[in-house]
């Protein structure tokens, strides 16, 4: 037993264990996604998160300890954002030709996301700091946190709402867009990127490269637009 305690105390001090656990949980989530025939509701992010949360809870590990290992994966979000330049560059002819539809979808989608989220929450009696934290939830995490903080919201709560929005978007997008009969990969990708940022973009890349590139574009443009829209729309509910 002492041996196990010693091994555990080594592992709990080093980032190796939780970095490995993160990659393992994702491999399981990704394998389940593939085994299901790429069904949208078998979402790899959701599966990995539930698995890891269960392990942390069962082993009594704090999130800060987990993040010591997981931060190496988390760090790559920045370089991945820069890497989105590649699909944007390779689809630049699509993008240039579709400037008007892109702008229409961006403004309509972004405004709908902020306005409907605040209206629904408001009808449930949600107000104050929580309502503020909800406003930028469709923007990509680093931008949403900055906007939330600037307006007097809670950045941690915003982070939660941003991640949940992404997972919801990744799950509902394909059945919803099929139901609506939207077949244009550009329209599908852009709308998902605007509504569900990077997690939606990751999902769009799983479906079609053009959808992925347009989702990345929608995410980037919406990051900028939300910074202006969220405070203005929030004003209507205060």
């Amino acid at each position: 037993m002492t041996e196990f305690t010693e091994v555990w105390s080594y592992l709990s001090r080093e980032p190796l264990l939780w970095l490995t656990a993160t990659l393992l949980a994702y491999s399981i989530g990704d394998a389940a996604f593939r085994a299901s025939g790429r069904k949208p509701w078998v979402n790899p992010v959701l599966i990995s998160v539930v698995l890891l949360a269960g392990i942390l809870w069962a082993s009594g590990t704090r999130y800060a300890t987990y993040f010591e290992g997981a931060k190496f994966v988390h760090f790559l979000l920045g370089p991945a954002t820069v890497a989105l330049a590649l699909p944007l560059w390779e689809t630049r002819h699509h993008v240039r030709r579709a400037a008007l539809p892109i702008l229409a979808a961006l403004f309509a989608g972004s405004l709908t996301a902020v306005l409907s989220a605040l209206a629904i929450a408001h009808s449930f009696g949600i107000s104050g700091e929580v309502l503020i934290s909800l406003a930028p939830k469709s923007a990509t995490a680093p931008v949403a946190l900055g906007i939330s903080e600037q307006m007097g919201g809670s950045p941690t709560l915003t982070a939660v709402l941003v991640i949940l929005t992404g997972i919801i978007g990744a799950i509902v997008a394909t059945p919803l867009l099929n139901l609506l009969g939207v077949r244009d990969w550009r329209a599908r990708g852009l709308a998902v990127g605007v509504a569900a940022h990077g997690i939606g973009t990751a999902r769009a890349f799983q479906v079609h490269p053009v959808a992925g590139a347009f989702a990345g574009l929608g995410m980037g443009l919406n990051a900028v637009l939300t910074a202006f829209l969220a405070p203005a729309v929030l004003h209507l509910f205060q």
């Binding site: 820069v82 890497a83 560059w89 680093p142 997690i199």
Partner: protein, 117 residues
């Protein structure tokens, strides 16, 4: 591979530095993205150098959200009595935003005669 990684990190670094130094509303990585796009326009050969690394990272974009996602679980109880309202707001607004966004795109594309190839 090393050169591609170096270019990626340098774009992000330059983006972070200029975003903070100039007080821009854009986050550093988004500025880094614009820098890399500008790089592609000036040096078209850069595209082939960056492709394997960029495709590798973007192919597993979902993985990168897992650490932040695990943090969500610790906050779920903090949502308390407002949980139901917030959850419905997230589901409702995400469905509406995807529907309105995609239909606006399709409508304007049709009006301007801009169809997919």
């Amino acid at each position: 591979m090393v050169h591609a990684l170096l270019i990626l990190l340098m774009c992000q670094l330059l983006g972070e530095v200029s975003s903070r130094a100039l007080g821009l509303p854009l986050p550093g990585p988004v500025l880094g993205l614009l820098l890399l796009l500008a790089g592609f326009a000036v040096f078209p050969k850069l595209v082939d150098l960056m492709r394997p690394l960029a495709q590798g990272i973007l192919g597993h974009l979902s993985l990168l959200f897992v650490p932040a996602g695990v943090g969500v679980v610790g906050h779920l109880d903090a949502l308390g009595g407002q949980g139901v309202g917030l959850f419905l707001a997230l589901v409702g607004s995400t469905i509406l935003a995807i529907a309105v966004g995609s239909l606006s795109f399709a409508l304007v594309a049709r009006l301007t005669g801009n169809t997919d190839d």
